[in-house]
């Protein structure tokens, strides 16, 4: 039985007065929705393809080298040694970073630690010191530093903030109701931590661990300085001796495989459990536990950690600066390096933000399987180490675009590719704060669509875009590996100058550059810290 909606006894609104003249074209034509050309989608696909280029390069290289050569180059003792070093390094450092990061975050966010505002910032501070400067400081402190355990020391001290920051952000917005429910079922504090708090930290822990692992795989300067051989240092040595040799490319392909394995491991370990709050209602701020007798040991522990991570390198940097006297402050070397670093940083940050915009816009405004696969490709490329990106650009620019090889264009392009994910994350959250409804409201008020976009959406996303650009700037200032591979002749950035000086064991000469890098990085690190707090809703 169908309900007859045009039943005769249904009364329609009576039209008083003359009937309105029907508008033109009352015939119902075909779908009159004029499809806008998918310009944004095309641009986004091109950008995604561009960012997959290093992966493609490695794949092509492996294939063209042929299985015979490749297997002889890959399956040899040297590679086994490198693999052992790298795997051991990761197996020891990553868990240590997770423990320190989560422990520090818990102390700062969930206990009545005195001075937790200070400790919160202090634990994030090591990010302002590039790993190779950290290494430089420690080598100055203990010149005999070498081998696996030194590598572990440097890695843990440099990278534990990568776990600390997301863990702190998560802990600060944990729902206390969950822990209270667990306690009411009879679980003690340690069990509550293990069974309720830790699972919620899973995303932060796996994401942070992934970041630490990727940084370890791609770090060059820090390990070269302590003469600890990893894939990256070996590739660099190959590159410097035989330029574009097959051996270097094969090492790069093994490195890429390791990175992809890390990615897969992280995705798998995320699990399928839900992490967002189920049910409605607001949530209270989580409570803070008193430390009692553990207070003093906790403070001492944190002091030790921050002292080793920040205190030791900074102390020695300053000591070298003082020892070097005024002679190391040569303006004709220092100023150009500073200016070039700033220029590359600003141009790179601006270019990355602009390039990230189409993908961020599509991901927020028109989510679909298409944008999700774009994000996936971006996730994969974000794991590529700087050295692989550098190698890829060297080969591709020589073979395909020889005119831009060894120019600033290639270097900026490499920066864009390397740091696109950071800009994307910030832009996405910024655009999410400018929903389509606001633009439509502006249009309904008579503002042209493009102007509405500029006056409303761009204006609202601007602070987040600036934050993303600042993070890219921070990364560019501290970038060493790709810059060494790609910078045009005569380029001097703070990082390359530092590296040149410290390679000549001119530690005093390298000190001003180290100091400048830290000074430039400090405000950006503070910004990163503030952003993570804001994302947590504080």
């Amino acid at each position: 039985m169908t309900t007859d909606l045009t039943a005769p006894d249904a009364r329609r609104a009576t039209v008083v007065g003359t009937a309105a003249a029907p508008g033109p074209g009352t015939r119902s034509g075909p779908a009159s929705g004029r499809r806008r050309p998918p310009v944004l989608a095309v641009i986004a696909v091109l950008i995604a393809l561009f960012s997959l280029m290093p992966l493609g390069y490695v794949a092509v290289m492996t294939v063209t080298t042929g299985w015979e050569t490749a297997s002889t180059l890959i399956f040899r003792a040297r590679v086994g040694e490198l693999l052992l070093n790298t795997v051991l390094l990761m197996l020891v450092s990553v868990p240590l970073c997770v423990v320190l990061g989560v422990g520090g975050a818990w102390l700062v966010e969930r206990t009545r630690l005195r001075g937790n505002r200070f400790w919160a910032l202090a634990l994030a501070a090591p990010l302002a010191i590039p790993a190779f400067v950290n290494s430089y400081g420690w080598v100055s402190a203990v010149p005999s530093l070498a081998g696996l355990w030194s590598g572990v020391l440097i890695s843990v001290l440099s990278y534990f903030p990568l776990v600390y920051i997301p863990a702190a952000a998560t802990l600060s917005r944990l729902d206390p109701a969950l822990e209270e429910s667990a306690a009411s079922v009879g679980l003690g504090p340690w069990q509550v931590f293990r069974r309720v708090v830790l699972p919620q930290l899973r995303l932060a822990m796996t994401g942070g661990a992934l970041l630490v692992g990727l940084h370890l795989l791609s770090e060059y300067g820090a390990f070269a300085m302590i003469r600890f051989d990893t894939f990256t240092t070996a590739i660099m040595v190959q590159f410097q001796s035989t330029f574009n040799g097959a051996a270097g490319n094969m090492l790069a392909s093994v490195l890429v495989v390791l990175c992809l394995l890390l990615l897969v491991a992280e995705v798998r370990s995320r699990g399928t459990a839900r992490y967002a709050r189920v049910g409605s209602g607001g949530q209270a701020a989580p409570g803070r536990m008193p430390l009692g007798r553990l207070h003093v040991p906790a403070q001492l522990g944190l002091l030790l950690l921050v002292g080793l991570a920040v205190g030791v390198p900074m102390w020695f940097v300053v000591r070298w600066v003082v020892l070097g006297g005024s002679s190391i402050w040569a303006p004709d070397e220092l100023v150009p390096a500073l200016v070039q670093t700033l220029l590359y940083g600003l141009v790179g940050a601006a270019a990355t933000t602009v390039v990230a915009f189409p993908m961020a816009f599509l991901a927020v405004r028109r989510p679909s399987w298409f944008t999700r696969s774009l994000e996936l490709s971006n996730y994969v490329t974000s794991s590529m180490p700087g050295i692989v990106v550098g190698l890829a650009f060297v080969t591709v620019s020589i073979r395909l675009f020889p005119s831009v090889y060894q120019t600033a264009v290639v270097l900026v392009a490499a920066y864009v590719l390397l740091f696109l994910p950071r800009a994307l994350v910030s832009l996405r959250s910024g655009l999410a704060q400018a929903p389509r409804e606001l633009e439509e409201a502006a249009q309904a008020l008579g503002v042209r669509p493009f102007l509405a976009f500029v006056r409303v959406t761009l204006r609202l996303a601007a602070p987040a875009a600036a934050g993303g650009a600042a993070l890219v700037f921070l990364a560019i200032v501290n970038e060493l590996t790709a810059t060494l591979l790609l910078s045009p002749n005569g380029t001097r950035t703070l990082a390359t100058q530092f590296w040149a000086k410290s390679s000549e064991i001119d530690y005093a000469g390298a000190a001003p550059y180290a100091l400048l890098m830290v000074v430039l990085s400090a405000p950006m690190t503070y910004l990163l810290f503030q952003q993570s707090k804001k994302a947590a809703g504080q």
């Binding site: 039985m1 039209v15 033109p24 119902s28 009159s32 439509e440």
Partner: protein, 369 residues
């Protein structure tokens, strides 16, 4: 192209259809709104109401059909007027105030950009006038949207849309996000402002009480079509089908048999609204039509009472119609249970016998299959 006074603000929507991918959301909607009139489009979630509004506002393009405002074609066939050229005001569900601007800047957003001190003063004066029109304090102009309450935000959004003196105002569930007490007050203010200004208004809501009280024409939407378009009284007392009846309020539904201009059911003989149906039908009464009357012909026993302050809902089991010789005995089912409303002065205890009578006409619908 001059528009006569009888035309300004007249909205004509014909056969509007829209699909999103495989899902057909609107299947040929036709609606007319008088100049200066208020229409409420009411329907359950997913019935296509917001899509209809967005088509009229120009945020989406329809697959078929026309939209004509003040005699000017806005959409249809080859005509397409983009949103910023339609003279249509739009107030979104949560107000959609621009968070980076103050209240005053929000209201002035659609006005001509003021250059020069005199123009800026004129803008400020106009903003003050608009705030007063929506019963808000002029001092609010300096605040930011997040510093004012939800009801105030709605009124600022209205003032912002009114700044351009549009011919048509579209309100998309504008009162749904407010809590109960605020909702009624805001609704009254907004309704008064729009009526005084003579602006044609279309309100979309899922709240039937809101639709019935706010508008002078109610359009009930279901599954992409308008089931009924009529005055609030007609739509409530003479719903066109069972689903519409149940959507607009509580309904007491009974099996009945049509006999001339009355129907026989468990409540006895009931006067029918004019209908072409014969034989078995389903009868609809509103609970408030069944009154407690100590001389009434219908008898029932109270099963339970739900007291909620101003009224109680009383569930009774009918006992009349079971006596021998009653013409309704063929249709009277053993222990039919119905709900009625009564004012709180009377609280019936379980097991009390009540006598009832019917007020007004019942509506006949085709029988349930």
């Amino acid at each position: 192209m001059g528009v006569g006074p009888a035309e300004r603000g007249r909205l004509e929507v014909r056969e509007l259809a829209k699909s999103f991918g495989a899902q057909q959301v609107l299947r040929g909607v036709t609606l007319s709104v008088e100049p200066g009139g208020t229409t409420a489009i009411v329907g359950p979630s997913g019935s296509g109401k917001t899509t209809l509004l967005r088509l009229i506002a120009g945020f989406e393009r329809a697959d078929a059909g026309t939209v004509v405002l003040s005699g000017r074609g806005l959409a249809g066939g080859d005509t397409w007027v983009p949103a910023h050229h339609r003279d249509v005001g739009y107030v979104a569900q949560d107000g959609a105030l621009f968070p980076h601007l103050t209240v005053g800047q929000n209201i002035a957003f659609g006005m001509e950009r003021a250059t020069g001190a005199r123009a800026r003063r004129a803008t400020r004066t106009r903003v003050g006038e608009l705030l007063e029109m929506v019963s808000l304090d002029a001092a609010l102009a300096e605040r930011r949207p997040h510093e004012i309450s939800g009801g105030q935000q709605q009124r600022v959004a209205l003032a912002r849309a009114l700044a351009r003196e549009p011919e048509l105002m579209l309100l998309d569930e504008s009162f749904s996000a407010l809590d109960a007490g605020l909702r009624v007050a805001t609704r009254r203010t907004v309704g008064a402002v729009l009526r005084d200004a003579g602006i044609t208004t279309v309100l979309v809501t899922h709240d039937q009480a809101e639709a019935l009280s706010f508008a002078d024409q109610v359009a009930v939407m279901r599954d992409g079509l308008l089931a009924q378009v009529d005055s609030p009284l007609e739509v409530y007392t003479r719903p066109v089908d069972r689903a519409t009846a149940e959507f607009l309020g509580d309904a007491v539904l009974l099996e009945a048999w049509v006999d001339g201009d009355s129907a026989s059911c468990s409540l006895g003989s009931v006067r029918l609204a004019p209908t072409t149906l014969r034989g078995r039908v389903q009868l609809m009464l509103r609970p408030e039509q069944i009154r407690v009357d100590e001389h009434g012909p219908i008898r029932g026993v109270v099963l339970d009472t739900d007291y909620f302050g101003p009224e109680s809902t009383v569930r009774l089991e009918l006992t009349s119609g079971r006596e021998p010789g009653c013409e309704t005995s063929t249709l009277a089912r053993e222990g039919q249970v119905i709900s009625i409303r009564h004012s709180s002065a009377f609280i019936a205890a379980r097991g009390t016998e009540l006598r009832l009578r019917i007020e007004g006409d019942a509506i006949a619908f085709p029988p349930k299959p």
